[in-house]
Symmetry: C2
Subunit: 699 residues, 2 copies
C-alpha cells in the first residue's frame, strides 16, 4: 500500500466545521514543484519585490483607514460634546439639567445603536477588538469570514459609532483587525465580499503567504494605532509567528513604518501643518519631557507594588468579564437583544458620567494654555472648570493624556477614586458587547486614574510626579488585563516617545503578568478559550512526556491509493462529516474537473482558494464512478511523518514549529496508522492537578 500524503492545503468542509485549521506548510505536490522548478532566479526576485510592494500597500491602506477613523471619531465626538455642552450651559442656570442628561444619553445610544445594528445583523464576527480572532488566525485556526472586506467595513463603521457613542472603548484594538483584513485582501488580489477577482498576486494564494501578509497587516495596525512600528512587529511575532525569518520581519517592519508614516502624513495635512510628522499614532500619549522622566532607585519597589496591584485588578477584570461573557452566551444570543444591551450600556455610561460630573464639586482653575477642549464650567466659578468633566466629557484618549500630563494638583484624589471605580465597572461591562471596540484605551484609562491617585497619595509622604505614576499605573492595568509582554513594553515605550521608562514598564508588566496569571489567563486567552477553538500554545504541557503519538492521534484513517476509483473518492468525501479521518481531504473541484477530462492545473486551485466547492455540488454518474483517477499529481509525496512512539512534546514541537495542519503517524514499516491534527494537540493542558484534557468544539 502506498503512503499518500495530503493533496492540498485547504479542504471542503468550511461550512460544516466552523473552526478548521490553516496549513502553514506548503504542500509540495507535483503541480507545485513543477511550477517552482520552472521559475528562474529572476522570477523569485520579482516575487520578492512584489512582496515588498504589497507590504507597502498594506501599510499605506492601513494608515489611511486609521486616519479616516481618527478624523471621523474626532468630528462626530466633537459635534456631540459641543451640542451637550451648549445644552448643559443653557440649563445650568435655568435648572432642568435632566434634559441635558436625556440629550446626552439619547445621542450616545443612537450612535451605539447604529454601530451595534451593523455588527449584530450584518457581520457578528466584527464585534469586539478582533485581537483574539487575529491571534487564532496567526496561530493557524481558521475562523470563517474573519478577513473579509465586509468585516472590515462593518468594523470601521462600528468602531466609529461606538467611540463617538461615548462607550468605554478604544479605537486601537480594531485597527489591528482592520490591518489584517487589508493585508489578506491586498495580498490575494481579490475580494470575496465584492465577488471581484483582480487576477493579480495569484502566486500568494496559499496559507503560508497569506499568513505572512496578515502578520504584516496586524503589525501595521498596531503601528498605526499606537505610533509604535517596532511594537507592531513584536506584537505580530509574539502573537503569531512560529518561525523567525529576518527578511519576513524586515518586511513586516516596513509595512508598520509605512503605516505610521501615512497616518502621520495625512493627519499633519488634516491638522493644517503638512509635513510636520510629529503625531505618529492614533493615540498620542504626549511627550514626556526629559527632565520629569527621571526615576530613582527607591521608586522601583513602588513600581513593583503597582504592577502587582495591576495584576490583581486585571485578573478581577477578566474574571468578571468571563462570567459576563458566559451569561451573554447563554441568554443574550439574539441580535436584537444584543443591540438593546449595547444601547443600554451607552445610556448607562452617559448617566453615570453625568451623575459623577453633577455630584462632584471639584473645580479647577482654567489653565492658560487651554489644554481642555471642552471645559465644562457647570457649577464652578467663572474661570474654573469641573475636573471630573475632563475625565468623562472627553474621548478616552484625551482623558488618558490629561492624566499623564496635567500638572500636579489638577485632580482631586476623591474624584480619581470614584472615577476609577465607575470606569472599571463600565469597561468590564462594555467589553464583549456586540460592538466593535478595543479594550486597550479603557484599560489604560483605569490604570492611569488609579496610578495618578497612587502618585497623589504618595506625594503626601515623598515628592512624586503624579503623571509618572499615572503612566506606570496604566501599564500595570493594561498588562494585568491583556498579559502581553515584550510587545506591550515596546508599544508603551514608543507611544510615550521616551525610552527612559523601559525598565520600570518592563518590571511592572512582568509583575502584573505573574500576579495576574496566578488567578486567570489574559483577557484574549479567556475569550479564545470560551470559543473552544483548538489554539496551540508555545510548548506542549511540561508533564506530557508520558503521552505518545499513538495515544493522541486520531484513527482509523481512510487512505486512498495513488490510482483510485472515482466512486470511492466521492463516497469517502461525501461522508467526511461523519468519518473524521480522511487522510486525503481532497477538493471536489479536483474530482469534478478530472471527471470532465480536463487536466487540472495549479491555477484551478488558486482560483478557488480558499473556498472550494463541496463534493455534494457535483453530480457523478454511475459510469463515471467506475473510472479510475490518478491522484499522483495532487498528493504531497513527502509529508512530514512521525513514528507512533514519538512523545507528545516532540510531536508538538514539529507541529508548531512548521505550522502543520496534520501530521501523519506511521509504524515501523511506514504504514499510516493515524493522523495528529491541531485538535488532538490542543486538547491537553496543565490544570490544577496536572495534565487535563479539554473538550473542544466537536467538528
Amino acid at each position: 500500500m502506498f503512503h499518500i500524503g495530503r493533496l492540498s492545503t485547504v479542504d471542503l468542509e468550511e461550512e460544516i466545521t466552523p473552526e478548521e485549521s490553516l496549513d502553514y506548510d506548503n504542500s509540495e505536490n507535483q503541480l507545485f514543484l513543477e511550477e517552482e522548478r520552472r521559475m528562474s532566479h529572476m522570477g523569485f526576485r520579482c516575487l520578492e519585490i512584489t512582496r515588498w510592494v504589497i507590504c507597502g500597500l498594506i501599510g499605506f491602506l492601513t494608515g489611511l483607514i486609521a486616519c479616516m477613523i481618527d478624523i471621523a471619531v474626532e468630528k462626530l465626538a466633537g459635534y456631540k460634546y459641543l451640542a451637550v455642552k451648549q445644552n448643559i450651559e443653557k440649563y445650568t442656570e435655568l435648572g432642568g439639567l435632566s434634559i441635558s442628561l436625556i440629550l446626552w444619553a439619547v445621542l450616545n445610544s443612537a450612535f451605539v445603536m447604529l454601530g451595534s445594528l451593523a455588527v449584530a445583523f450584518l457581520e457578528p464576527i466584527a464585534a469586539g477588538s478582533g485581537i483574539p480572532q487575529i491571534k487564532c488566525f496567526l496561530n493557524g485556526v481558521k475562523i470563517p469570514r474573519v478577513v473579509r472586506l465586509k468585516t472590515l467595513v462593518i468594523k470601521v463603521f462600528g468602531v466609529i459609532c461606538s467611540v463617538a457613542g461615548g462607550l468605554a472603548v478604544g479605537k486601537e484594538g480594531p485597527m489591528i483587525h482592520s490591518g489584517a483584513v487589508v493585508a489578506a485582501g491586498v495580498s490575494q488580489g481579490r475580494s470575496t465580499s465584492l465577488k471581484k477577482d483582480f487576477k493579480i498576486f495569484e502566486y500568494f494564494r496559499r496559507d503560508t503567504e497569506k499568513r505572512d501578509f496578515v502578520s504584516a497587516g496586524a503589525a501595521a495596525g498596531v503601528s498605526a494605532a499606537f505610533g509604535a512600528p517596532v511594537g507592531g512587529v513584536l506584537f505580530s511575532l509574539e502573537e503569531g509567528a512560529s518561525f523567525w525569518n529576518q527578511l519576513l520581519t524586515w518586511r513586516i517592519f516596513f509595512a508598520s513604518m509605512v503605516s505610521t508614516f501615512t497616518l502621520n502624513f495625512f493627519l499633519s495635512i488634516y491638522h493644517g501643518k503638512p509635513g510636520q510628522l510629529s503625531s505618529p499614532g492614533l493615540i498620542n500619549f504626549g511627550r514626556f519631557d526629559s527632565d520629569s522622566v527621571q526615576y530613582n532607585l527607591y521608586e522601583i519597589p513602588l513600581f513593583i507594588i503597582m504592577g502587582a496591584l495591576g495584576g490583581v485588578l486585571g485578573a478581577l477584570f477578566n474574571i468578571i468579564n468571563y462570567w459576563l461573557t458566559i451569561f451573554r452566551i447563554r441568554y443574550i444570543h439574539r441580535p436584537c437583544l444584543q443591540v438593546m444591551e449595547a444601547m443600554l450600556v451607552a445610556a448607562v455610561t452617559a448617566t453615570v458620567s453625568f451623575a459623577m460630573i453633577y455630584f462632584s464639586n471639584d473645580c479647577q482653575p482654567l489653565g492658560q494654555d487651554n489644554t481642555e477642549e471642552y471645559p465644562l464650567q457647570l457649577f464652578c466659578a467663572d474661570g474654573e472648570y469641573n475636573s471630573m468633566a475632563t475625565a468623562f466629557f472627553n474621548t478616552p484618549e484625551r482623558s488618558v493624556r490629561s492624566l499623564f500630563h496635567n500638572p500636579p494638583g489638577t485632580y482631586n484624589p476623591v474624584t480619581l477614586g470614584v472615577f476609577t471605580l465607575a470606569y472599571f465597572a463600565l469597561a468590564v461591562w462594555t467589553y464583549g458587547l456586540t460592538v466593535s471596540a478595543g479594550v486597550f484605551i479603557p484599560s489604560l484609562l483605569i490604570g492611569a486614574a488609579w496610578g495618578r491617585l497612587f502618585g497623589i497619595l504618595l506625594s503626601f509622604i515623598i515628592w512624586a510626579d503624579p503623571g509618572k505614576y499615572a503612566l506606570i499605573g496604566a501599564a500595570a492595568q493594561l498588562g494585568g488585563i491583556v498579559r502581553m509582554t515584550l510587545s506591550l513594553t515596546v508599544i508603551l515605550v514608543e507611544a510615550t516617545g521616551n525610552v527612559t521608562y523601559g525598565f520600570p514598564i518592563m518590571l511592572v508588566l512582568m509583575t502584573a503578568k505573574i500576579v495576574g496569571d496566578y488567578f486567570i489567563e489574559g483577557l484574549y486567552d479567556v475569550h479564545i478559550k470560551l470559543q473552544s477553538v483548538p489554539f496551540l500554545h508555545w510548548d506542549a504541557p511540561p508533564t506530557s512526556h508520558w503521552l505518545t503519538a499513538r495515544e493522541v492521534m486520531s484513527s482509523p484513517v481512510t487512505c486512498f491509493n495513488r490510482v483510485e476509483k472515482v466512486g470511492r473518492i466521492v463516497d469517502v468525501l461525501s461522508n467526511t462529516s461523519t468519518n473524521h479521518n480522511v487522510l486525503i481531504k481532497s477538493k471536489t473541484c479536483l474530482a469534478s474537473s478530472r471527471l470532465s477530462q480536463r487536466k487540472l492545473q495549479l491555477k484551478d486551485f488558486r482560483d478557488a482558494y480558499p473556498r472550494f466547492p463541496p463534493i455534494q455540488s457535483i453530480h457523478v454518474s454511475q459510469d463515471e464512478r467506475e473510472c479510475m483517477m490518478d491522484l499522483t499529481e495532487f498528493m504531497n509525496p513527502t509529508p512530514y511523518t512521525v513514528p507512533q512512539e514519538t512523545s507528545l512534546p516532540r510531536v508538538f514541537k514539529l507541529f508548531r514549529a512548521l505550522g502543520l495542519r496534520h501530521l501523519v503517524v506511521v509504524d515501523n514499516e511506514n504504514r499510516v496508522v493515524g493522523l495528529v491534527t491541531r485538535k488532538d494537540l490542543a486538547r491537553y493542558h496543565v490544570g490544577k492537578d496536572g495534565l487535563e484534557e479539554l473538550h473542544l468544539a466537536q467538528t
Copy 2:
C-alpha cells in the same frame, strides 16, 4: 533491520573536526524520557524559576563586566591623554613636538601590545568582536573554546587594552561575546578553564538549553553596550533564533533589562550619583532634545540619499577588509607577526592623529560648559581649542557624542572631510587585527563625521541641524557595514533615547542594506564565509526545488543494531574520522562504563558534556570485544526522518526550524539510506548564475 536513531546530542570528535554542529533538538532517548516522566509538575515549575534566576544572574554579571570595562578604559585612557596633553603643552612653546608624538605612539603601542600578546598567544578565538562567532554558535555551528571562561578573561583584558591603546575600535562588540560566555558558564554551573564543576544546573547541560541561555547572554551584552534592552532581544532573535517562544523571549528580555540596570546602577555609584539611573549603556549618545529632533517631509529623500551613500561606503569597507583578511590569512598567521601588526597599527593611528591635529589650524572657542574633557590648545589662541583634537584626542565614543551634539559651527568642513578619510582607512585596517575590538563605534564615528559634513554642506542651501545629519550618517555607515536591520534600528533608537527618528533610521538602514547587498555581504557574513563554516541562512536558495534529499544527503551510512557487539562499536567509532557517516555517533564514555559493568546514567552524560572522552582513550580487551551491548537505552527511537524524494527547501525548513544536527533520510520501507547534515545543506547558495555549490572546510 531496526531503524536506530541517534544516541545523543554530542559526539566525540571535537578535536578532530574543528567545526561541528550543535544539536538544538533534544534527543529523546530512554534515559531522557525516564527523567522527564519522573518529574512532577512542581519540578518543571522549579526548573522554570531556575531559568529566570540564571537569566537574572547572566544579566547581572554581564552588566558588571561592562561596568568594569567602562571604568578601566576611562581610567587608562584618561591617564594616557593627560600624560600626552601635558607633554604637548610643555613642548608646544619649546618646540620638539616630535617627542610628544613618540610618547603617544609608544603609549598606544604598549597598550595594544599587551592586548595583542594575550589574544595571539593565549586565546586566538578572543580576537575581533566575537559577533561572527556568536552568530555561528546560535546558528548551530560548534566552534571550540568560544564560550570558555579563559576566552572571556582574555577578551575583557584585550578590549580594555585596545580601546585604551587608541585604536579605531569600540568596546561594544566584545560585550556581546562576553555576555554569551557568561551565559554559557553560569547556565552550565561549571567552568572548563578552571576545571571546576559546581554540580548545579545539571539539567541544563544540553545544547538546547545552552543555546537559549547564550541568546540571553548575547542580548544582555548588547543591552549593556548600547543601553538597548529591546535591541538586545531583537539582536539575539535576528542572529540566532529559529523558533520564537514567548516565554523564552521574555526571559531574554529580563536578562537584558537586568544587565542595563546593573550597569546603570554601578556607574551611577562610580560617578558619585548613586540611584540616578540615567546613563543606560556603555555608549551614551546623549539625549536629543524634543525640539531639535523634528524632521520634515522634504528631508526624507535626503535621508535616502545618505542611506545609499552609507551602503556604498559600507560595501567599500567590507571589500577592502575582505582583501585585507585574505592577505592576513595567507601571510600573517604567526602570532608574533600578528602582535607586530597590531603594534604597527597602533603607532600609525597615533601618528596619523597627531599629524592631523598638528596640521589642522581649526580653532574653536572653548564652550562655557566645558564639554571637551581634554581640550588641546596647541597653536590656538588662549580660550580656544583645536577642534581636530576633539575628534582624535578622545575615545571614539566621546567623539561620536561630540559630532551628534556639538552646536552648529563647531567643526570645520575640511576637518571633517579629512577626518572621515583618515578614520575610514584606520578602521578598515584595524578590523581583523589580532586584538579584541568591535567595529560598531568606528563605523558610527565615520558615519557621524561624513553625516555632519553632509549636514554642514546642506546648511549652505537650507537650514539643517548638523547633529541630526551626523546621526543619520552614523546609522547609514553602520548599516552599510553590518547590514543588520530591525535590531539595529531599535538599538539606535534606544541609544539616542528618542523614538522620533525611528522612521528615518529605518529608511536609511533599509537603503544602506539594499545598496550594500548589491556589492558584497555584511562584514560579519564576509568573515563567517572566510572561515568556511557551514552557516545556515534563513531559507533554502529559492531555485533549489530541483534538488531532493537523495541528492544532497551523505551516504552510505553505517548503522548499528539495537544490540551490537562491542568490538564492532569500537571499530566503527575509531574510524569516524575516515568514515563520515556513522548514524549513531556513540560516545565512548558510554562504551567504557558499559564495559565496566556499571549501569550508565543520564548523569554520566551530563558530567562529560560537552566534551566526551575519545574512544581511543579506552582499552578494550579481546574478550570484551566479544560482549554484546544493548544500545536501546541511549538511542533516540523517534528521530525526525524524511523520504528521499523530499525537496531541498522542505528538508531545509525542517532542519532549520527545529535546529537539527542530522536528519535521517529513509526509503519507502523506512530503511535508512542517508543522512543530511548541516554541511550538506550549507553547501548550496545562490550565485551570479543561479545555484552554486560551495566548498566547505572538510571534516
